[in-house]
């Protein structure tokens, strides 16, 4: 027997059910048959979803990638000596040199794919817990200052400055405060929270501990959606690993700071991604949104001051503290600082996660990274920011990815999900779906959202059926205005955005 060869096979939702587990078993069996020793590591995802299942082999200092691998390719991989980096139709070369990955600005996701997500040793070998150590040494003021300096804004969609939110909680007097991590990633076209929690869960845990330290909270909750069973399994194990190694619980690493995290599972409600509905759900109730004010930072979970941050926001914090807020602020443009994990989805040739500094254009993402549509047809519409985000037409692709530039054209970057549609899409149908989805998912608290969405579906049906079309288009616009101005939260307040943009840029689809 020769020396053992390390083979990396990703353990992540997309890869696992495209056959990664079976491929791992087949490689182990084939290695045994060929009398070679392999050490199979189940790493996280690099975010290059179109190449899943990806198999990497450690050769010298490189990791040579092969993908997308089918279980039936395993024999031919062995036949061409892939364990020595041999040539094969599926060979992609060193993972680090794949342009899709190489041209990114990996900050928050820099360990994703690289390490075994549940290994504290590997996590620390690649800079994990450096931010937390620095925080514990330098004190709460320093942490708050760095987060403010970084310009980090909420990555869940609203883009609120994180440092200001933390400062508010820190400055509010209370015996008990909470950190809540919003992992209710319900927007279609988004999966960055999932990839981070599956591929580098310890970084999210580290970010939550730092947040707790900065604002004076000893308890954290993660609210994870139930549609992510594998994430639940991996993240649950990560909490255990962190606890067992003294990074979570009482007196973290011998300091006088104690912090623990509970994992709660959502129950299939989209509106629970809205921060106050999430808090209600964490309290065991129906996810009906709350009036604001009071802000959750003042009166949040169980009436106590609460930080509500998205997974990616929290995951960005450790390196901001480790390297200083200035280092993060150097990425990005205008008031959109740092990086965002864009997610290429829908009808796209090379779907996946692209972490990049703000400022590049939608076209660069869709064409350079995404390679255009999967169907090979023309791009006709792109929805950005989830089901509440506006549809863009093909001639708006040069819009720079920046919160303010998007707002200026009536769009929103949101959580960074980009869903591409080709020229077979019926935009009247998409507009109708936006209203129908709101009708299903509305929490029911306010009338514009609860009733407006139902009426919206009916009015769109009449427009499409050419039933008094002009009058009904006016009515739809009025209804949209009422929902925007009168709804209590983004659910009813933003559902009109996809509807109005479809009507504005694709009027012909309502006029058949």
């Amino acid at each position: 027997m020769t020396e053992s060869v390390t083979v990396f096979i990703q353990y992540e939702t997309a890869a696992v059910w495209l056959g990664a587990n079976e491929i791992a078993d087949r490689i182990a069996a084939a290695a045994e048959k060929n009398n070679v020793k392999v050490n199979i590591v189940r790493n996280g995802s690099w975010g290059m979803s179109w190449l899943e299942p990806l198999v990497e082999v450690a050769v010298g200092d490189d990791r040579i990638a092969y993908g997308p691998v089918d279980i039936n390719d395993v024999d031919s991989l062995f036949a061409t000596s892939f364990l020595q980096g041999g040539e094969h139709d599926l060979k992609l070369g060193p993972t680090a040199d794949i342009a899709y990955l190489k041209n990114q600005d990996r900050w928050t996701f820099r360990r994703c794919g690289l390490i075994d997500p549940l290994s504290i040793t590997e996590f620390q070998a690649h800079g994990g817990f450096a931010g937390l150590k620095k925080a514990l040494e330098s004190g709460t003021e320093h942490v708050l200052e760095q987060v403010k300096t970084s310009g980090l804004r909420g990555r869940g969609g609203a883009g609120f400055p994180t440092g200001i939110k933390w400062q508010t909680v820190a400055s509010t007097d209370a015996g008990q405060k909470y950190i809540t991590c919003n992992a209710d990633e319900g927007d279609s076209g988004t999966f960055s929270d999932r990839i981070l929690m599956e591929s580098d869960p310890l970084t999210v845990i580290e970010g939550m501990i730092i947040a707790g330290f900065a604002v004076g909270a000893s308890k954290g909750y993660v609210y994870l959606r139930s549609e992510y069973p594998l994430t639940q399994q991996i993240f649950g194990k990560a909490l255990k690993v962190a606890r067992e190694s003294g990074w979570l619980g009482d007196n973290i690493q011998g300091s006088d700071f104690s912090f623990d995290i509970d994992l709660h599972i959502g129950a299939g409600s989209y509106v629970c991604g809205e921060e106050t509905a999430m808090l209600e759900s964490l309290e065991g109730k129906a996810g009906v949104i709350r009036f604001k004010p009071p802000l959750p930072a003042i009166e949040g979970l169980f009436g106590k001051p609460t930080v509500v941050n998205n997974v990616v926001t929290l995951g960005s914090v450790p390196d901001i503290v480790a390297f200083g807020g200035k280092a993060y602020d150097e990425y990005g443009v205008g008031r959109s600082k740092g990086t965002l994990a864009f997610q290429l989805a829908g009808n796209i040739k090379r779907g996946g996660l692209v972490e990049k500094a703000f400022g590049l254009t939608l076209r660069e993402l869709i064409e350079d990274w995404g390679g255009g549509t999967a169907s090979g047809r023309d791009v006709r519409a792109v929805q950005i920011g989830g089901p509440l985000g506006a549809y863009f037409s093909a001639d708006q692709l040069d819009t720079p990815m920046d919160y303010e530039a998007f707002a200026a054209v009536g769009g929103m970057i949101g959580h960074g999900g980009i869903v591409v549609f080709d020229d077979t899409v019926d935009m009247a149908e998409q507009a109708r779906f936006a209203m129908a989805f709101c009708a299903i998912e509305s929490c029911g608290k306010c009338t514009p959202c609860r009733i407006g969405s139902v009426r919206g579906v009916e009015v769109i049906d009449r427009i499409v059926a050419n039933d008094d079309r002009e009058k009904n288009i006016n009515l739809l616009n009025d209804l949209c205005d009422t929902m925007i101005d009168g709804s209590l939260c983004a659910m009813g307040g933003m559902t009109p955005f996809p509807v109005q943009s479809a009507l504005k840029y694709f009027p012909e689809d309502f006029n058949k």
């Binding site: 495209l18 979803s49 988004t190 992510y228 129950a267 309290e283 290429l344 829908g346 779907g351 869903v419």
Partner: protein, 155 residues
């Protein structure tokens, strides 16, 4: 595997969560995982042991899609009907699976094998269209892959 409802097991589950009302959503999940659905009896027992009204518990149960009150089929097939999957033909896939199973979405086959449900995003959008069968999330589903997966469910 799910088991038949008994008040003793139900109490054990509730006690695992210290019978805390703020754990209601998590308790309901544990009930569905164990008993497949929430019967009237279960709701009555939860409300009693958590010291909540039955209306309170019903309000939470009926709010969330996950908390079913009818016994589901042997397998639960959730088909993603959100935008990313729509862009990759989920409407056609939905029609295909409905025809193959002879049921509409939100229905269960007569032989009790398959319950078909819609889901709004499985977070597998770079590999759209996606479906979930029991706890498995399949990406890049096309007509023949879908047929194969459904047949494995006995559909």
């Amino acid at each position: 595997m799910t088991t038949k409802y008994t008040p003793t097991i139900a109490t054990e589950i509730i006690q695992e969560y210290s019978a805390a009302p703020e754990m209601l959503v998590q308790i309901l999940h544990a009930f569905v995982a164990r008993f497949a659905y929430l019967s009237d009896e279960a709701i009555r027992q939860i409300s009693l042991e958590l010291n909540l009204s039955r209306a309170d518990v019903h309000g939470v149960v009926s709010f969330y899609h996950d908390f079913r009150t009818e016994p589901p089929g042997e397998h639960i097939v959730k088909i993603c009907v959100a935008e990313s999957c729509q862009a990759m033909g989920s409407r056609e896939l939905t029609a295909q699976v409905e025809e193959k199973l002879g049921i509409k979405i939100k229905e269960t086959t007569d032989d009790g094998q398959v319950t078909l449900e819609p889901v709004y995003c499985l977070g597998n959008c770079a590999c759209s269209p996606a479906i979930m069968i029991d706890e498995k999330v399949y990406g890049r589903v096309d007509a023949s892959k879908l047929d194969g997966l459904i047949e494995k469910c006995g559909g």
